[in-house]
């Protein structure tokens, strides 16, 4: 282990989807960027998610955050094309909208009310409720269960292969001059004369500016400035159904066919700390719901199940913030970092370099939790 610290310009900690998206966005700014990523047992959100680029039907109480997802979705097609070109890798993606199936009249009308509210706060909303027969026309190869009354439809949604996206970013980073080091950061130490020393598994590193994008581990890494970062593990558990012919040209939330033909079932949110156990009764309840939506699934094989910990800020909104007393450290945490990847790449670089946040994200700093910036 070396003991002399190596000097770096900007270090980004975390090579999940947030870290790579931010690093790629910084690459053409003439600065030297180093990305640190070390595998941990539980920080695997970027490797366990569904890959939905999802805008609809959320955050009526946080209109700016709702708008941010729509903005990111609009930036995605050009970004995914560019990443494919730079990395030379294909990224399966479709931008044909998204559907949320409804069971029963009550669920349909409460979903309709929510969308009305969202339309009012956002003024413009590219979606609507559709009837069962309209749903059947959108997904003609699926026979829906008798309880399905219709769906929420939004044309801004989409789905991307999340592992292909992560991989393309990583390969692209090697082509645009970003250095990636595989190492685990244990602790961040602010230095008296400015700058930061990172104590890592492979020795100390020093940098002028630091970006913390390590998902749940941000809590530990930021504790020199904030002892209790308001970010929690939100456990999801999913079932994977065997490969089927492609029958879902438009992704459905909760029961989503992947590009490889498998179907991911899952929608649970649980706050149980860093527990990643798959609980049979929990995944079974998800499977039962999926069969009510799409009965034929009941006859198909389950081939896998897994869990993942979402990175959930306390009020469910993204955090883009300097750390209190540390203008040289920027922290990024969001629970929809796939959806927001295009926003992170295209519109956050100025902020990471010391500038202002984009208008829509101005209220997403740590100030809202009572921390001074």
């Amino acid at each position: 282990m070396s003991t002399t610290a190596r000097e770096h310009d900007i270090i980004i900690v975390g090579g999940g989807i947030s870290g790579v998206a931010l690093a790629y966005g910084l690459a053409d700014r003439g600065r030297q960027i180093t990305l640190l990523d070390g595998p941990t047992a539980t920080d695997k959100a970027s490797r366990t998610n569904v890959g939905l680029i999802w805008c609809q039907s959320k955050f009526a109480h946080l209109p700016d955050y709702a708008s941010l997802a729509f903005l990111s979705a609009r930036l995605f097609p050009e970004l995914s094309r560019e990443l494919s070109e730079v990395s030379g890798l294909e990224i399966p993606v479709n931008y044909r909208g998204g559907l949320i199936p409804c069971l029963g009249e009550e669920e349909y009308s409460s979903r309709a009310d929510y969308i009305d509210r969202l339309r009012q706060v956002l003024e413009e909303y590219p979606g609507e409720m559709i009837s069962r027969s309209q749903l059947e026309r959108k997904l003609p190869a699926i026979t829906f269960g008798p309880e399905v009354t219709g769906a929420a439809w939004c044309e801004a949604d989409g789905i991307i292969d999340p592992l292909a996206l992560l991989r393309a970013y990583k390969v692209a980073l090697t082509r645009v001059g970003v250095t990636t080091l595989k190492t685990l950061v244990h602790q961040v130490e602010p230095l008296a004369g400015g700058g930061y020393r990172l104590h890592t598994a492979t020795g100390p590193l020093e940098c002028q500016q630091l970006v913390l994008a390590a998902g749940l581990a941000n809590r530990r890494l930021a504790n020199f400035a904030i002892p209790d970062l308001p970010v929690h593990a939100d456990k999801g558990q999913v079932l994977l159904v065997e490969r089927l012919p492609q029958v879902m040209p438009i992704p459905m939330l909760g029961v989503t066919q992947t590009f490889g033909g498998t179907v991911i079932i899952g929608f649970r949110h649980e706050y149980v700390g860093h527990d990643t156990q798959v609980v049979p009764s929990a995944v079974a309840s998800e499977g039962q719901w999926a069969i009510r939506v799409w009965p034929a699934l009941g006859k198909r094989r389950l081939i896998r199940t897994w869990s993942g910990l979402r990175v959930m800020p306390k009020d469910s909104q993204a955090i883009y913030s300097r750390l209190p007393g540390h203008p040289g450290v920027t922290l990024v945490n969001t629970h929809s970092a796939v959806t927001l990847a295009a926003f992170h790449t295209r519109l956050l670089a100025d902020y990471l370099l010391g500038g202002e946040l984009p208008e829509l994200a101005r209220k997403m700093t740590l100030n809202r939790f009572g921390f001074a910036s």
């Binding site: 026979t143 065997e242 089927l244 012919p245 799409w294 034929a296």
Partner: protein, 96 residues
């Protein structure tokens, strides 16, 4: 000098073709090693031919129809005398 191996064998049918294979091996090993089938199922999305790959229950590339039951991971089933094994039925015939 080593003692010659005496192997008991069983007979299975793959697509109607009789194979004499060592007892105790998996259906996937029997078909791959003794029938040279090319493929044992087709990828439901792109239609490409697939065959047993990991031989340990992980990849699901070895699905075959065994004794009339489709969708069986053939690497996890041991050969039995008279077993009827077929390629996995084409996914087009599945009603979704």
């Amino acid at each position: 000098m080593s003692t010659p191996l005496t192997t008991t064998t069983v007979r299975i049918l793959f697509e109607g073709q009789e194979l004499e294979v060592p007892a105790g091996i998996s259906v996937a090993a029997a078909v791959a090693g003794y029938a040279h089938p090319g493929h044992t199922c087709k990828h439901p999305v792109d239609g490409s031919g697939r065959a047993p790959f990991c031989f340990m229950g992980v990849c699901f590339e070895c699905l075959m129809e065994i004794n009339g039951l489709p969708d069986v991971q053939s690497c996890l089933v041991t050969v039995e005398e008279g077993m009827q094994v077929r390629r996995q039925p084409l996914p087009e015939s599945i009603k979704l």
